[in-house]
Symmetry: C2
Subunit: 244 residues, 2 copies
């Protein structure tokens, strides 16, 4: 039993979680039905009940299972698409949908932080930040103007690099600097295109824009990036899933 852990370095609760997930997804455990009790399953997998509960807790967090005290553990009726409960980035998202995406760098330089940027990044007004402004395309159509600000104090290396090679994988760059993206807070508004935006996004002045402000944080809570994002209303929607 413990041998299994040691052989491949994969914890038992991860293997059991995977096994249970397969049973749920392939229908061995049917939607709405009770799965075997924790005692039964721990005997079946040859582990202690605590270990088995670790696996089940993970699957409950994913929304695949739910518990009713004194009754049992059940398969949820509806399985939420996992993608939408997670923070993802534009290029990941679009490429998963099989779309051709590209971008053009409009601006890239160090500037002093304005009030809102400084506040979001936990800096003082005027502290140095790097501004990366890009225009993003899906299949040759311009869809998004993207204006990101990152603290110079954390990411000054970027100025010595070729921005064209980094701009499509900023999150990877952050991670290589020791700041892995873990959480984000975003605010969404409906706006209208002004002349500049209309021009860049090939739309009419006054056409709807899905406006997004977002701050990204690493696991330790350091603000990594503050972003303004202007999305063509007719080409772009945002899906999120939330817990009560």
């Amino acid at each position: 039993m413990d041998d299994l852990t040691k052989l491949d370095g994969v914890p038992l609760y991860v293997k059991i979680r995977q096994s249970l997930r397969e049973n749920i997804l392939n229908g061995s455990y049917k939607r709405g039905e009770k799965i075997p009790s924790e005692e039964e399953l721990s005997a079946q997998y040859g582990v202690s009940r605590m270990t088995l509960r670790h696996s089940i807790n993970d699957l409950i967090d994913e929304g695949l299972l739910y518990r009713r005290q004194g009754v049992g553990t059940f398969v949820a009726h509806h399985h939420l698409a996992r993608d939408h409960s997670r923070l993802t980035n534009f290029f990941e998202n679009s490429r998963m949908d099989g779309l051709q995406v590209s971008e053009k760098v409009l601006d890239f330089r160090q500037i002093p932080a304005k009030y809102q940027v400084a506040k979001a990044l936990n800096l003082k007004e005027g502290d140095p930040v790097i501004c990366i402004k890009t225009l993003r395309f899906i299949e040759t159509e311009p869809v998004t103007v993207h204006e990101a600000y990152i603290p110079m104090a954390l990411f000054s290396d970027l100025l010595n690099m070729d921005i064209e090679s980094q701009s499509q994988d900023l999150w990877g760059f952050y991670e290589r600097c020791g700041y892995k993206v873990k959480r984000g807070v975003q605010r969404l508004e409906a706006r209208q295109a002004d002349e500049d935006l209309a021009d860049m996004l090939s739309m009419q002045v006054g056409a709807p824009i899905l406006y997004k402000e977002r701050t990204l944080f690493s696991e330790d809570g350091t603000p990594i990036e503050f972003l303004y994002c202007f999305n063509r209303g007719d080409m772009y929607s945002i899906t999120v899933s939330l817990l009560r």
Copy 2:
């Protein structure tokens, strides 16, 4: 030790979690700093390490702490506002901000489900649903047209009730019927007001609308409600926080 559990019925890990949370929020444990090791803390609280880890895991989920294997457990630098990572409803939200909110019922009747509604609620096209359409006001300003559909099969009781008394607490009504709101998936778009919307929301035709579609689910994954929501762009924004 166990006495504590029995006296008031509050589990130890909940008490310890609360104690740790207080130490973090009042600054006894400072942002970015290491808290005592798990062994130390479990001795301090007089519990086993597994119980202590239960408390810490909860605080990590909340974003207050993070772990680094082989190093220690640390207080996160930034504490996300908890409100925004959770599904909340209009009246809760606005009243917490101290605003006067009200609503007018525009439509309330049983109809056959159209394709999109049926699909979201896991019904067949034409299955009976209840439509509740309302206009919502903040401080006498109309801000939202709200069009909810709920399965007749689950909530037929509503037809015998006074909708005016229930419409501001639909989630409470769902819960009293045995379906507690637990998860939701929403999709957001920027649109423009057509003549009807412009009229209802006292705005000009073509003005920006933050459009939202949302499906609510109970813990067991049953779809409870499907919603179309048209929000005045100049009065309404939506904030969400997400995990990577």
